[in-house]
């Protein structure tokens, strides 16, 4: 156990030392390079990772000049395990299990996401009422449909996506301040092919210069109107990776917001390949035993 703690501490130290010089070279980075580093940070949060998250969604209104929930938020909690595969670990296999609310407890989803555009992503779902694992016809990465919602929240799969930077025009607009932090204001515009698959015609990101985390993202529709805004808060160093532990996305059209709270995120976990298979969906005894082993790596 002591060796484990020492090795994880060492990894964290190396990551921090690796990230520290970034500030000094920051001025020399192009908009594309900033986006690549931002995506590296995003990927690091799901590679060999065990996370516990809480998703809260509500209709919002204004009270005393502040945005607030106009109704009691709907809350879902989930546990997720992911691992990178393929060239440069850009493919991802992940399992997400809903822990709450009770009516949805135990619903599990296994996803294989491929970086390569020609390969369709694969998803299997296990519903106890169905009594079997079901492959989903949820569409491929090149669907000409709007991306799906994440467990009914305002977060869409597109908001969580990484990669495919070649399909965007990326411009550095200015260097400014956001939430008291120095940020790059970067604009991404999808090319014609990508635009057909996206609900956004333009996205503006405010990227923390030191920590390579988005503090604010504005998403615009094809008419140039801002339709969604994402705000990152509680930026903390978790296992050597800067993470916005609380991310809120506001749908400015429907006036609903969702908050994703990273309650726990542990990286550098040794996730066995067998865990990222259909067995985890159907064999609850296996799943719980393996999850305990993964949790033990944290302790």
């Amino acid at each position: 156990m002591q060796n484990n703690i020492l090795s994880r501490g060492l990894v964290s130290l190396i990551v921090v030392l690796f990230l520290l010089p970034l500030q000094s070279i920051a001025q020399d980075l192009s908009a594309r390079e900033i986006m690549e580093k931002l995506e590296d940070t995003r990927r690091a949060t799901s590679n060999s990772a065990l996370s516990r998250m809480q998703l809260s969604t509500c209709k919002f209104g204004v009270r005393e000049g502040k945005i607030t929930c106009a109704e009691r938020p709907r809350v879902k909690s989930l546990e997720s395990v992911g691992k990178g595969y393929g060239l440069n670990l850009k493919d991802t296999r992940s399992v997400a299990i809903l822990l709450d609310p009770p009516a949805e407890r135990g619903i599990g989803m296994l996803s294989f996401s491929y970086d390569e555009g020609a390969r369709d992503n694969e998803t299997w779902l296990y519903l106890s009422a169905l009594g079997r694992v079901k492959r989903l016809a949820s569409g491929s990465s090149d669907d000409e449909t709007e991306p799906g919602s994440l467990f009914g929240s305002e977060f869409s799969t597109e908001d969580q996506d990484t990669g495919k930077l070649d399909e965007y025009e990326i411009n550095l607009l200015e260097e400014t301040l956001e939430s008291g932090r120095e940020v790059w204001k970067i604009e991404t515009i999808p090319n014609e092919k990508r635009a057909r698959q996206s609900r956004y015609s333009r996205t503006v990101l405010y990227v923390d210069k030191e920590r390579f985390v988005e503090l604010r993202v504005e998403m615009y529709d094809q008419y140039g109107k801002e339709i969604k805004r994402m705000l990152g808060a509680r930026v903390e160093l978790m296992n050597g990776i800067w993470v916005a532990r609380s991310t809120t996305i506001m749908n400015l059209v429907t006036n609903r917001l969702s908050n994703m709270a990273f309650l726990e995120m542990h990286t550098g976990i040794d996730v066995p390949d067998e865990f990222l298979t259909q067995r985890t969906l159907t064999d609850a005894a296996f799943r719980e035993t393996e999850l305990e082993k993964l949790r033990a790596q944290i302790d």
Binding site: S56, A70, R72, P102, E154, L231, S246, V253, N255, A285
Partner: protein
């Protein structure tokens, strides 16, 4: 029906009481322009992190999931059904179900590699429910155990012993391979096979290999579809009582195994089994005295199933070859006994073919067609004899669903018919999730049938139902 509407409205008002709404909040119109910055304080969700500290404090109650529901349903169309020329049966609007139910599920991984899972249901049949009337106008309580199994998983193996379900086949709703567990379609509130499936005592062994999986089962106490409950819509007073199968000293068992492999974009399975047809065949008693004689129908099954995902399209295919199946059998919830059964064993081939298409991330449409036919069906028949099922017979099922309001509202539509186009069941349903605990659902069912279909008695029925559910 007025009573039904009144009760539903009252419960809806109680549940939709805006206790969930926050006071003094200016509700914004949709599409309000956000020209400037607005103030957002992340502390709004700060409680999530406070909760974190208590997240590891588990309670034994966490292993339970409880769902309490109140359901009203009934037939709403006053009409008559013409059974024979000059004779029709009046079908009056009436409340059929008024029942309070609780479903309890328990799952506990109590030790590494061990799991205990159980579920049960309790129903209280209230005023004007058909079971209330069948009990002489008194409140009746029924309880039933569903799942109850112990699971041990180790290395690449998993063994489950107890009451459970085994589901084979890819086609949703009407697969020719989904024949292992018995079903009970007690009334029109149960349309989906997922809700009708009953658990059985089985030993199931799963082997998870590196590239493929095996799943095998043994059932040492095969059960059969229960007869229709007295008073239910599917109950017709039979000429002779339809009793349970008298096992005597006969040793019944079922066994089967399935091999499954996943490829990129596709899953395939092969299966082989020795089974009993879930529906008993009833024959009129000897000398036409006493109860109908129940007859089992054992056969061998060879099966193959596959799916293929192509972008937004998922194709499903099931193939079943049944050897030595009793040719003259009748598979309908309100089965009657046969006066002149034909005791011929034949081979039967069946196939289910279907697709699911994701129109968008919110809308899905699916179609499944099931067709079966007996091989050499005329062989062995005496002149003038004919089988209940001749030629190609089967059914089709089409479903459409649309999820709205971030999954809070699901609207679905189902059309179900037989291949001979003798009947059509059309269902329109809506399920609204009010909050994390409460949900409400409603259904409208319309049935069309000609006199060739056993659904004739329900022709022109319009059935309405509403169910209020609280989960915790």
């Amino acid at each position: 029906m007025k009573k039904l509407a009144g009760l539903a409205a009252t419960t809806l008002l109680v549940v939709l009481n805006p206790a969930n709404a926050q006071d003094n909040v200016l509700i914004l119109d949709n599409d309000v322009p956000f020209d400037g910055d607005f103030i957002f304080d992340d502390d709004l969700f700060g409680g999530a992190f406070d909760e974190n500290s208590s997240a590891n404090t588990r309670s034994w109650l966490d292993d339970f999931t409880i769902k309490i529901s109140q359901q009203f349903s009934g037939q709403a169309n006053n009409h008559g059904v013409k059974i024979t020329p000059g004779f029709s049966i009046p079908r009056e609007a009436e409340l059929e179900t008024n029942r309070l139910g609780a479903n309890i599920r328990y799952q506990n991984a109590f030790a590494p590699g061990w799991l205990l899972q159980a579920s049960a249901q309790i129903r209280i049949y209230l005023n004007n429910d058909y079971q209330y009337r069948a009990e002489g106008d008194s409140v009746d309580i029924e309880s039933r155990g569903n799942e109850f199994f112990l699971q041990r998983s180790f290395d690449q193996h998993s063994i489950k012993l107890g009451r459970q379900t085994v589901v084979w086949g890819e086609t949703s709703g009407n697969s020719v391979l989904d024949v292992i567990n018995t079903t009970e379609f007690r009334d029109f509130n149960i349309i989906d096979i997922e809700d009708a499936r009953l658990n059985q005592w089985m030993l199931v062994w799963d082997y998870f290999g590196e590239n493929s999986n095996f799943s095998s089962f043994v059932n040492l106490y095969p059960e059969f579809n229960p007869a229709a409950v007295r008073g239910s819509p599917f109950f017709f007073e039979p000429e002779f009582n339809l009793t349970d199968y008298d096992r005597d000293s006969s040793m019944l068992f079922e066994a089967g195994t399935q091999w499954r492999k996943s490829f990129e974009g596709s899953d395939i399975s092969f299966m082989v089994a020795y089974l009993y047809e879930n529906q008993l065949r009833y024959e009129d008693p000897a000398m036409r005295i006493g109860d109908a004689a129940a007859k089992t129908n054992d056969f061998f099954l060879l099966g193959f199933s596959a799916n293929r995902a192509i972008g937004k399209l998922l194709l499903n295919f099931d193939l079943a070859y049944s050897h030595d199946v009793l040719a003259d059998s009748f598979n309908f919830p309100g089965t009657a006994s046969l006066a002149n059964p034909i005791n011929l064993k034949k081979d039967q081939i069946g196939s289910s073919l279907g697709f699911e298409y994701a129109i968008s991330n919110e809308q899905t449409v699916s179609l499944g067609i099931q067709a079966q036919m007996l091989l050499d069906e005329d062989e062995g028949l005496l002149p003038g004899q004919s089988l209940i099922n001749e030629g190609v017979f089967g059914s089709w099922l089409m479903r459409y669903s649309n999820t709205l309001m971030n999954n809070d509202l699901v609207i679905s539509s189902t059309l179900q018919g037989d291949l001979a186009a003798n009947s059509l069941l059309a269902l329109l349903g809506a399920e609204y999730t009010i909050n994390d605990n409460w949900s409400i659902g409603g259904q409208i069912i319309n049935i069309t049938s000609n006199d060739e279909s056993p659904l004739l008695i329900f022709a022109e029925d319009v059935r309405l139902s509403v169910t209020l559910t609280y989960s915790f």
